[in-house]
């Protein structure tokens, strides 16, 4: 009679391409080769966009910026598993996700230049503005999921957040509600091992973030976040599951933030060069390149061509972003409410004088 076992939970980790670029063929057969090109081209584009953002910031042409270096597989691989009409709810570090979803890069740059117009998502895409209060976007996915259910649409929600965000109450309330209402949500934890200076080990004593999903009544899985094929596969499965009304999934993308937290951070204050070096060796592009080369999908010439196209796109985006006029002061009032109060109207006049 005394102690009886009433529950068993098993936590899995998915990797499809190892650091040497070797793959388990049996599990990849379902993927058309063009997908790998898409992976390679999008990562390249996102990485170039990111490099340029960093140098623009150094030149004072862009504000504080959060680099995605090292996380491209987790961002691009997951984003490409969604349809453009699905809903994406990003944190503040999701530039790669937005680029993969087709969000105009010049708007992204504009946003990082401190201009709200950069987060005015084009029609046809359903991407919420980047969310600055860490973790506070999590429960929004619940509401969007409820909306999708209410209208009976066949859509999924992808909500992104970091390992740090996983410590916030929002994580708990969001995942618990998603489980209770069995909502079509894919929770994409970008575990890049750091929350500014706080390492994953100090963020939680739990072994994985993925395992938490089970206590909310749905599946969680950890994927090698630098293996874009694994990230894509896990996300695609979760998106399909969501659209088949089989509820939410938590995916922990196990990756690494290779750069400083943001351009106003100095990571050398709190982490070792060795740690960073060891992760550089695992960065996603090396692996994808090796894998594609083995498959005969990669050549120097191909890469040069991809980079050329990407730089042209990035140059054009920067040109367009810097071509924006300074936003109008009146906009801060005009966009605060739909119907302006008398006070707001007086303030508009004051500003227009």
């Amino acid at each position: 009679m005394p102690t009886s076992v009433i529950g068993k939970i098993v936590v899995d980790r998915l990797q499809l391409i190892n650091e040497q670029g070797e793959a388990d063929a049996s599990r990849l057969t379902h993927l058309p080769e063009s997908v790998y090109n898409k992976f390679f081209e999008t990562i390249t584009l996102a990485r170039l966009y990111n490099q340029r953002a960093l140098s623009l910031q150094r030149e004072g042409r862009l504000g504080t910026y959060a680099s995605i270096l090292g996380q491209e597989a987790s961002q691009v691989g997951s984003a490409l598993a969604f349809d453009p009409s699905d809903w994406i709810i990003p944190s503040f570090r999701e530039s790669g996700v937005l680029i993969a979803m087709g969000y105009p890069m010049h708007l992204l740059y504009r946003y990082w230049m401190g201009d709200e117009r950069g987060m005015s998502c084009p029609e046809g895409l359903n991407i919420l503005p980047m969310c600055v209060p860490v973790g506070s976007q999590l429960t929004h996915s619940v509401g969007v999921g409820m909306g999708i259910k209410h209208r009976g649409e066949k859509k999924a929600v992808g909500v992104y957040f970091g390992d740090g965000a996983s410590s916030r109450g929002d994580f708990h309330e969001g995942l618990n509600l998603a489980g209770v209402f069995k909502l079509p949500i894919v929770f994409l934890c970008q575990n890049n091992q750091w929350a500014i200076s706080v390492p994953r080990s100090a963020q939680s004593a739990g072994a994985t973030i993925a395992e938490r999903a089970f206590s909310y009544g749905f599946e969680g899985i950890q994927v090698d976040g630098n293996d874009i094929v694994a990230v894509y596969k896990a996300t695609k499965d979760a998106v399909d599951k969501a659209k088949d009304n089989n509820g939410p999934t938590l995916i922990e993308c196990f990756t690494y933030r290779l750069d400083d937290h943001t351009t106003s951070d100095d990571a050398s204050r709190y982490r070792s060069k060795d740690e960073v070096e060891s992760w550089k060796a695992k960065e996603p592009l090396i692996r994808l390149r090796l894998f594609m080369e083995k498959k005969g999908l990669w050549s120097k010439a191909y890469e040069d061509e991809v980079i050329k196209k990407a730089s042209e796109a990035v140059d054009a985006a920067i040109k367009e972003a810097e071509g924006f006029s300074q936003p109008q002061a009146v906009d801060m009032i005009r966009f605060t409410n739909k119907d302006l109060s008398l006070r707001q109207k007086r303030e508009l006049e004051e500003l227009e004088r």
Partner: protein, 319 residues
Amino acid sequence: MKLNMVGAINAALAQEMSRDKDVVILGEDVGRDGGVFRVTEGLQARFGAGRVMDTPLAELGIVGASIGMAVYGLRPVAEIQFMGFIYAAIEQVFSHAGRMRSRSRGRFTCPLVIRTPYGIGIKAPELHSESAEALFCHMPGVKVVVPSSPYNAKGLLASAIRDDDPVIFLEPSRLYRAIKAEVPDEEYLIPLGKGEVYQEGADMTIVAWGAMLHKAAEAAEGFDAEIIDLQTLKPFDEELILSSVKKTGRLVVVHEATRNCGLGAEIAAFVSEAAFGYMKAPIMRVAGYEAVTPMARLEDDFKPGIERIKKAYELVMEY
């Protein structure tokens, strides 16, 4: 039909839900139980559990989910069981509901209503009697509405649900069943941002809202006072207050919330600037003390009573 405020709010919810299938209700105990005050009684049976959702005990989640629904295109009406429990959701209200339109430059909007019982009045446990309206009045992007009668409760809530920005709808729990009055079955809207002259008068202007409106009016017997029921606290009806004060030259604002940085301060500051020269007496505020809202035994000592209010009226008149 004669209804109390509970019935009037219930009628407004039913009306809006039948009119617009995007209107959904969510909150703790709002479904099967019909709400701890029975405000949502019968709505789940009528509109289904998909549109009247009992949620887990998670205020942050309730408001966060409402924001997601509103951004998606629905018109959620969230219930927070008592205003004292809305604090856990304040980040969602301030940092998201009130900012989504601005942040996305109009691409996404947040037409949601948060209903919550507020104020002292039912001798309930601690934190069941908060009057924190001023916090929300300070936050750009958010509107704040407080009904004072079954009639305006129905008309104001309908307008709040149709408003394209977030509205905090504060329901004076003391009034839920205190007044029964004629409430038209047919649809009517009371515009947000407009106050109502509750009683005309010449000697002084009294501004109040919700449950305190009635105390303020009771205390005004024997005075030739013009009483304004503010109805919308944010943005409040500047014109109505100004025109009245310019006529009377005297102003008393009465509210239950603690005085410091209460809405009374804003109204007094606004009038003292805009009607300077018209004032025959200092603008007085009658408000809760600089004290934690007490438990049942001291409730009545905290909130302004007839004596305290009368004293203020006399002071401005004697001035």
